[in-house]
């Protein structure tokens, strides 16, 4: 197996680390929560950062009319199949060892990743904007519109008394590393080709 093939093979299989490590994390900081509360987002579940965090986020958010963070969302069914599929295809492409396949896989991953991020954004938007009419506390923003409680896609943002921080986690980083390896595989192959010609 050539070096590029190995990179392609290992790089695509690194996607599977998403089953072990969280993809993303949202943390809420406030003076009353010196230890902060938050949740890790995996490709198939939401997990308390510390025990009961999601329950406690739900309790606080219900005052402004937000829905509970669901236990199950359709993405949790779709994402795992996509990840397994892409990892398997990538590994096979690694065996085949054609640079066009490498770049094709990488491109598809970029597209899928973008769709994933867009989907995540839309979920956050829905979560932050879908407020019950009966909410006990109704805040408005500077324009007099109902306040939104949408957490940031990436980075941090003040939402009332909470600082919401949204950042990738180890699963995402390993996926990026894996994708970079497949890109590197393509580049190496391309160099080899240019040497030969």
């Amino acid at each position: 197996m050539r070096k590029s093939q190995l990179l392609m093979f290992v790089g695509s299989l690194l996607l599977l680390s998403l089953f072990v490590f969280p993809l993303w994390n949202i943390t809420l900081e406030a003076p009353q929560y010196p230890e902060a509360i938050g949740m890790d987002i995996y490709i198939n579940k939401f997990v308390d950062k510390n025990p009961n965090d999601i329950k406690n986020i739900n309790i606080m958010n219900h005052y402004v009319g937000m829905e509970d963070i669901p236990e199950q969302i359709p993405e949790f069914e779709i994402f795992p199949s996509v990840v397994i599929g892409m990892a398997a295809i990538g590994a096979i492409f690694g065996f085949i060892g054609k640079k066009k396949l490498f770049v094709a896989w990488f491109t598809v991953m970029i597209i899928l990743g973008s769709i994933g991020m867009y989907d995540f954004y839309m979920w956050e938007y829905e979560y932050g904007h879908n407020l019950k009419e009966t909410a006990a506390i109704k805040f408005t923003d500077e324009d007099g519109e109902p306040m939104s409680y949408q957490p940031p896609l990436i980075g941090s943002k003040m939402i009332l008394n909470f600082k919401a921080i949204s950042m990738p986690r180890l699963g995402a980083y390993l996926m990026f590393v894996g994708m970079s390896m497949t890109l590197a595989a393509f580049v190496i192959e391309k160099k080899e080709d240019s040497k030969e010609t």
Binding site: P51, N52, K55, N56, I59, Y63, A136, I137
Partner: protein, 651 residues
């Protein structure tokens, strides 16, 4: 002129010297700086030590931070506490049960901390009830009273609760000797007929659970205070005694006639052997044993019927008496385990007995007679030294781990620092006023943390803003890290402080429980989700299974209750977040509120007496919508046809 100059110069010199002295007094501690800085703990910062200070006649145990002197919690132990529903809710009522029935009060004196290898280990705090003899165990993870055991045959449980080197036993001696077993007899036949019981309570090392292992039947003296041997003297327990005259009236005179009373040295390893050999009698004795079960969140009280008793007079090698002058009060053992300090409270001196010399005297039978068959060791053969004329009325001694002892003097109102071994007085500091006990964190263990000393005073007088005839009780904090003791802080205490115990915060803080796990709540009336809440009726007995979560009760509308019912409110706090308790009470309930920690279930009983619609509400400001956390209960006439109904938001 020359003379004038010289005088002037001398005056200047004196001034300089006195300034120098006052400076060294102010800055003598390890930290230096001004006094306020050294007891100041900035907002948001934590104290370096926990202080557990007995609540005296409040019956409780107060938890302070040191050096700030800030009060954190009053742990209810022997007295009911309406704030925490202790002794009021159905779960904790059994904790205050005794063989005499439920008792709402006691007088708590001497907290002591669990030890491992002679060092405090941060697991449990123990404290005695003096009036109706009991010993309690308090968890240092939950800061709740988990167990109380009554001590039969004991009366005035003063020389307790003292913990042996590995928390094998909590040892508890009786202040009053009484007929054993109790019987109807003339008081003036005291002498020779009344006996003193000393109890050994075994502690399970995992659960902390008590077992009254055995009692020693001792001569009819008053057993005042005690401390265990440690290191080489491990396996021995030392008790000060007074009234070896065995008087039963006008004790202030008649119990002060003997020049020397005794320190009783008890070889409890020998006692264990006697028990193993069956050398005991089983004495019928009723006593209550009350245990809190964290899983079911309920206390149960069991009345036990008998105790194993060893007659100390019958078994050689079990007990020896060390003559000690002037009605000794404090009985303290230095960190090396070699010296046993008896503070003759009617004298100006303390007597230090040597454990090595004691063993030698026993082996060579250097006896000076006996008392009821118990050998009295020859005074001169056991005394290691005397701290002479140190003050008036010595009471208690603690140690700093640097070879110094610190003794309180009640009459001369001071703490005196002296050198162990040379018995010379090194320093003295006044107390305000009339100090009783003192405490150095770990100061009665093999590993004292000799930075601070807390003096626990009996009289306050003018030290604080006056509050009518009844004044605050007072403690004082001294820095003892330097050569000179320095008074840093006065702080008021809850009830009269007797003894106290202290521990580094790092020993206790990491083990703190933050909340009760809801899934581990096995209370028989717990409900774990709102959909399981209900109201049931069996005759006139009604059970409400209710939950709380920010910011509502479920159910919050209840109908179908009738006058004459006996209604149990079982309220589960569904919260699983740190520091989110909910409270509940309702109008006309003849009991306390409930204060329910996250994951906990508590129950109060209510007897509806009047027809109407009556409110209940959350008593602990839980959230922004706390004021909305309320509900109604409809009470109908007896025999009414209004059906039992409960709901939250119509569901």
């Amino acid at each position: 002129m020359k003379i004038m100059t010289t005088l002037g110069f001398s005056a200047l010199l004196l001034f300089a010297i006195s300034c120098g002295q006052s400076n060294s007094n102010d800055n003598g501690g390890a930290l230096g700086g001004n006094l306020a800085d050294r007891s100041y703990v900035a907002p948001g910062e934590h104290d370096e030590f926990y202080g557990f200070i007995s609540g005296g006649f409040s019956g409780q145990l107060a938890v302070y931070g040191l050096p700030s002197g800030r009060l954190f919690k009053v742990i209810p132990v022997y007295s009911v506490d309406a704030e925490k529903a202790y002794g009021f809710n159905e779960e904790t009522k059994p904790m205050l049960n005794t063989s005499f029935g439920e008792i709402p009060w006691d007088d708590s004196h001497h907290p002591d901390l669990s030890q491992t290898n002679g060092e405090i280990d941060g697991r449990w705090c123990f404290i005695n009830a003096n009036n109706t003899p009991r010993i309690a165990r308090i968890s240092l993870s939950t800061f709740e009273t988990e167990e109380i055991i009554e001590l039969p045959n004991s009366a005035g449980n003063h020389s307790s609760s003292f913990v042996t080197e590995n928390t094998e036993y909590i040892v508890a001696g009786t202040r009053f000797s009484v007929p054993i077993p109790q019987r109807d007899m003339p008081i003036d036949e005291y002498k020779g007929n009344f006996k003193g019981a000393i109890s050994f309570i075994k502690v399970d090392q995992e659960s902390g659970r008590f077992d009254l292992s055995f009692q020693l039947k001792m001569p009819g003296f008053d057993y005042d205070l005690a401390h265990p041997g440690r290191g080489p003297s491990h396996g021995w327990m030392f008790f000060s005694t007074y009234n070896t005259e065995e008087s039963n009236t006008l004790m202030e005179v008649n119990a002060s006639q003997n020049d020397k009373d005794y320190i009783a040295a008890i070889n409890w390893k020998k006692a264990e052997e006697l028990i193993a050999n069956g050398d005991f009698e089983t004495v019928p004795s009723e006593y209550a044993h009350n245990v809190w079960d964290e899983s079911t969140q309920m206390a149960t009280s069991t009345i036990k019927k008998e105790v194993k008793m060893i007659d100390a007079s019958k078994y050689p090698g079990l007990v020896y008496f060390l003559p000690t002058p002037k009605s000794p009060h404090g009985c303290d053992v230095d960190p090396t385990g070699e010296y046993i300090i008896g503070s003759g409270k009617l004298s100006a001196s303390m007597t230090a007995h040597s454990f090595t010399k004691m063993i030698d005297a026993i082996e060579n039978e250097k006896f000076d007679g006996d008392a009821y068959g118990i050998p009295i060791l020859n005074y001169d053969d056991v005394v290691a030294g005397v701290v002479k004329q140190a003050g008036l009325g010595p009471l208690h001694t603690e140690f700093d781990g640097r070879g110094n002892g610190y003794t309180t003097f009640f009459i001369s109102s001071e703490v005196v620092k002296w050198k162990v071994g040379t018995w010379e007085v090194l320093d003295r500091a006044p107390t305000y006023y009339s100090v009783g006990h003192l405490m150095i964190p770990g100061g009665n263990s093999q590993k004292p943390y000799g930075k601070y000393l807390v003096a626990l005073n009996k009289i306050t007088k003018d030290r604080y803003l006056p509050t009518g005839p009844e004044l605050a009780q007072s403690a004082q904090l001294y820095d003892i890290s330097g050569d000179k003791m320095e008074l840093l802080l006065d702080f008021p205490t809850v009830g009269e402080p007797h003894y106290a115990a202290g521990a580094p915060a790092d020993l206790i803080k990491p083990n703190q429980m933050k909340l009760y796990q809801l899934e581990e709540n096995n209370h028989p009336y717990a409900v774990k989700s709102e959909k399981d809440t209900k109201v049931t009726r069996n005759g006139n007995e009604v059970h409400i299974y209710m939950t709380t979560i920010r910011s509502h009760f479920a159910p919050d509308n209840i109908e179908g209750i009738q006058v004459g019912d006996e209604v149990f409110w079982h309220v589960t706090n569904l919260e699983q977040d740190y520091d989110v308790p909910h409270g509940i009470s309702m109008i006309g309930a003849q009991t306390s509120e409930l204060l329910i920690m996250p994951g906990q279930t508590e129950t109060f009983k209510w007897f509806p007496k009047r027809v109407g619609v009556w409110p209940f509400y959350c008593t602990d400001f839980c959230s922004a919508l706390h004021q909305e956390m309320q509900g109604y209960i409809r009470v109908s006439p007896k025999g009414s046809s209004v059906p039992l109904k409960w709901s939250l938001d119509g569901e």
